[in-house]
Amino acid sequence: MENGLEKKYIELNMGPQHPSTHGVLRLKLLLDGETVKHVEPVIGYLHRNAEKICELDYYCDSLIYFDRMDYVAAMNMEIGYLEAAEKLLAIEPTERVKWIRVVMAELGRIASHLVWAGAFGLDLGMLTPFFYFFEEREKILNIFTEVSGSRQETNYMSIGGVYQDFNDKIIYKIREFLKQFPKKLEEAYSLFVKNDIFISRTKGIGILEPEVALSYGVTGPMLRASGVPYDVRKDAPYLVYDKLNFDIPISKGKDVLSRFIVRFEEMRQSVKIVQQALDKIPDGPYFNPKAKKSLMIRLRGEGDVYARTESPKGEFGVHLIGDGTVKPYRVHVRSPSFKNLSILPYLSRDVLIADMVAISGSIDLVFGEVDR
């Protein structure tokens, strides 16, 4: 350097207890003034090795560990595991169960995106929208309480069925929610997009090209905001998604703002899906008699399957291997947040610390799932 001075970067440790890291993410930053030169995410603070625990349990018991992976969208995690387990154990859920699961998955997706939007607002210094979103989310959690008995970690589904059937009260509650939700959503949406500060903090920040996103294994709204229309619900339909009419929103903006807009459009699509599904739910049993409760721990499976589902964060895959006994031989989970987080060092090169917070907020991290 000139004047014989040496240029030195500052090392800064952000997290694991920091309000804007969404849980227990630790970031080792290398700073030049306010500019981030390098960032290294350190993860594993919430690691419980759910994969090993699942190996030690019966097929039906593993479900509760999946609830605790993405703990804000437990319903979607359960479906992810059951898609794999039902294929391996050759137990088909009944037709009514498939429709019930779709309703629950889409409500879970809305709840998860609401939490994300609220927390994202907090990252950017907006306190008010958080309360709007959490009020709406609480209504969904009330529906979950009605069907399963608990708010977040629902443990509602089981192999081949669900814990309890839909009754009139549950359907009435869901319809009541859907009636008022779209208006509230648009109200909260305008709080963001009509705010100049929000637009200037998000537009053009964290540009992610589609080729890079694919190479890093990024999926979900992150990938769709970069213009790649990949959604497992459309590309490899599971449950009854092929009988429903909905669109996959994509954006060409590739930045933080377009990830925000894509997630909001997804919520509107989810409302559409729930409405259709409620109208179409057929009558029938709510569990498969081959997997009734007394038989549950005697289910055996052999072979290996890989099932993917669309969780709110992206492609949630479960690789399940059975060796013919009552316990799985190996369970591996492809958690979308884990892959999406790996792009943070790439996106955070030469940006301001405040922009890095916006970028890490736009990834939608849930640490139960990253660390598993």
């Binding site: 993860i43 490899a236 290996d304």
Partner: protein, 153 residues
């Protein structure tokens, strides 16, 4: 093609390719050339006498159809595919962490979920679950792992 691929069908109708470990990188390069631009995940299964390494690939041009590549590893070393897909970086670190597989040519192979000093590889079948390990931090801020209960938090 200078290598032999065995093709089989999975229980759920997936196409599975089996390849000897020596030709893995070569096959992966060819598959990347055929348009498989998305490496969904890398996982490994411990069969006691060998470790089976599993790659799930997806192709964006054909609706993300899935292709599985399997290879057997006997001596814990295998070629890294980080040069082809960036996502292999964290996946291979995870398999190093959990299964003890060493990936040749990986830019930064270290544990990802567990602290650096952890003893053993938890997802191996011979891992001793009865021994508790305690994690603490030394004065420099580095993780320290020991079997002494007094050393924990």
């Amino acid at each position: 093609m200078s290598y032999e691929v065995r093709e089989e069908a999975g229980k759920d109708g997936r196409k599975i390719l089996r390849i000897p470990k020596e030709n893995l990188l070569e096959l992966m390069k060819d598959l990347k050339g055929q348009g498989y631009d998305h490496l969904a995940l890398i996982t490994a299964v411990d069969y006691r006498d060998r470790i089976e390494l599993v790659y799930h690939l997806e192709r964006s041009s054909t609706n993300f159809e899935i292709l599985t590549v399997k290879t057997d590893v006997n001596d814990s070393t295998v070629d890294s595919v980080t040069s082809l897909w960036e996502s292999a970086n964290w996946d291979e670190r995870e398999q190093y962490d959990m299964m003890g597989l060493v990936f040749r040519g990986h830019p930064d192979l270290k544990r990802i979920l567990l602290p650096e000093g952890w003893v053993g590889y938890p997802l191996r079948k011979d891992y001793d679950l009865s021994k508790t390990q305690y994690v603490n931090m030394d004065d420099e801020g580095n993780d320290r792992v020991s079997f002494d209960p007094g050393d924990g938090w």
